[in-house]
Symmetry: C2
Subunit: 428 residues, 2 copies
Amino acid sequence: MVLQGPDFQKHVLVLVGLPARGKTFVARKMARYLSWLGYRTRTFNVGEYRRAIAGAKQPASFFAPDAEHRELRERIAMKTLDDLLEYLDERGDVAIYDATNTERARRRRVYERCKAAGAQVIFVESICEDQAVVEANLRENKARSPDYAGMDAEAAIADFRERIAQYERTYAPVDDEDRCYVKLIDVGRKVVVNRMQGYLGARLVFFLMNLHSGRRKIWLTRHGESEFNVENRIGGDPPLSDRGRIYAHSLAEFFAEQKPERLEAWTSSLQRSVSTAAPLGVPKLARRALDEIDAGICDGMTYQEIREQLPAEYRARAADKFRYRYPEGESYMDVIQRLEPIIFDLERQKNPVLVVAHHAVARALYAYLMGRAQEDTPHVPVPLHTLIELTPTAYGYEEKRFELAPYINTEDTLHPMSVGAPPLPSIR
Amino acid sequence: MVLQGPDFQKHVLVLVGLPARGKTFVARKMARYLSWLGYRTRTFNVGEYRRAIAGAKQPASFFAPDAEHRELRERIAMKTLDDLLEYLDERGDVAIYDATNTERARRRRVYERCKAAGAQVIFVESICEDQAVVEANLRENKARSPDYAGMDAEAAIADFRERIAQYERTYAPVDDEDRCYVKLIDVGRKVVVNRMQGYLGARLVFFLMNLHSGRRKIWLTRHGESEFNVENRIGGDPPLSDRGRIYAHSLAEFFAEQKPERLEAWTSSLQRSVSTAAPLGVPKLARRALDEIDAGICDGMTYQEIREQLPAEYRARAADKFRYRYPEGESYMDVIQRLEPIIFDLERQKNPVLVVAHHAVARALYAYLMGRAQEDTPHVPVPLHTLIELTPTAYGYEEKRFELAPYINTEDTLHPMSVGAPPLPSIR
């Protein structure tokens, strides 16, 4: 696989940090990004193993650095690591080890076991110097954690503070002895990178550098119906149809009502996308990376024509819609690769954004944001004239869909090539 | 211009570091990269102003932090900054301020003047913890610097050491007070990034993270002659012609003789590129980002056919070959944007690389590596069956061209659309 280059090596990303420092937030972001790029990636959370092995609802004293508890905690951590290494050995490309790993001895042990298994280790430390962020994380963590299920809120927070204090007693921040690392200080403010090597490491760091913990909505839509949509043709650079123009105005009305502050609209370079955003009274950015999948020699054809004139292509696409590349055009895989800068910009962006894209591109962006498996991308339902609103939650996005008039039922039924797609639960 | 986004702000990149820490190396790399991306960029070197104002060949004592010399040096630094701000005000997008800037008071003054002029400031500090690198820089700097022209080598080095010592007396490394900064520690080993914002900043940091001071050759060639080349057609995915296959074997022979250690070959995804590299016994990586410029609706046509069938397109392209975008295809500008990851990988790569590309792509890569102005890109001569060898020097590359049999004189004469190109001196 081209993405992974000739020198691809399995990787273990080892989180480091006190409790309530956003480690799991970072772990999930990394997992979503790497999976979307096509790396088989899985997160191993020591807290989950602890609850399964030692039982949930351990008090803060469980986390004290005394001999008895330390031995048990070490056993749990190593059991998690066993499973992680087994996963890498069997089928994984990247494994994420989500635990505090605040002691140097633990990190050395993890490093050596991963090295012995032939994997490259990158430590990813999350540090919060901003006490307000720690407080917010702490309150959210407490509310979320099964460790405190059913417990009084204030008692839980007090216990969690005590747990953090236990860790602080022996915390040694990552340093040059840990070799290859990224330190994220107040996610988005300061980054320290040491001895990063290879393709995956470089991309990962760039990705992490763009993260921030601010929360803002993202809206995703396809362009309004185009004249090609009406004729069921793919590709080209057609103008909007009458119904498409009405959708563009409905979209503008929607945002005139909602008035999200500092909203920006990103479009592709194609006129059906640009025209859909035109009535919006917000700053716009046209980006070629958002252009529709290039259908190569099939550009401008209907699926019916492809079936009749290029039956071998038709069959090849039906057999593997994800990997299928149009002759002289692109595959979904290619689209994902060229969307990477958009993903980085989406992460970096602190303002709310409306992305006015195209079918394949909207599917790929949606798959990234919602953490769908790469191979599902060509089958994600993103109908015309539907606005998808994504509201950030602690670790992901909550989705709402708005069918803005004129509603087009499901144009997928018009596409005989989509018939093979597995049915997905409608979120509507 | 799309590249610069809706919120583009002028930038000043302020170098920081003791003498012989590679500041000018970093400044030139940044200037080349940003110019290539299309930002009007210029470097202002305080050393040059010093030699012009105070005269060359100042002894180390000139750099002492005493009142008299400090006042003169401050005046020179501010005169340089005046010119820099004038450039930004008149036409520049990015200005690079290449000086030591090792004192906090100087940095504050520079920061405030730039801010007052509405520019965003990024400090870029270069630190060498590796004494061997400092020694090597010192010897090279000494040899290169007009400050020591005609002086005995050992005396010059001794004086240069003393000059460094003068700076060390008052050196305050960049810290969080300097707000937005990148610290490069032993270029390529460790990077610290603080409060980086915006598109340009994020890209710049990623670029800097990929730099290293190692030196290895880069070879650049187009694929061997294809069957479309023979018919003078553009685009498509044709196989090699007989002459093209002979070139592929000549190339393999060339490298079998030279035997560069750990050589890698990067090709596009198109068969004429892949087949050209096929006889080489080295690891290969096929990358779609290296594919030829997409000629859109002109794909597969000859220039003669374009002239006859699409005369308006023909004229538009002749009028501005750099910005011209084939309908449903790409412009040179688009090619440059999608080549950015290749540039990053070329910088990061420590092994020698042979890139087997296509006409427009090879021109764009060459323009980056040799620091040619963006607009010259479509006119850089890169003939078929010519291997370009680039050997790194202190701040750039030295070029050699090899015409490997079967030599094709200059296929540019076959392309009537290239007639308008200004003649460039042949480097051969």
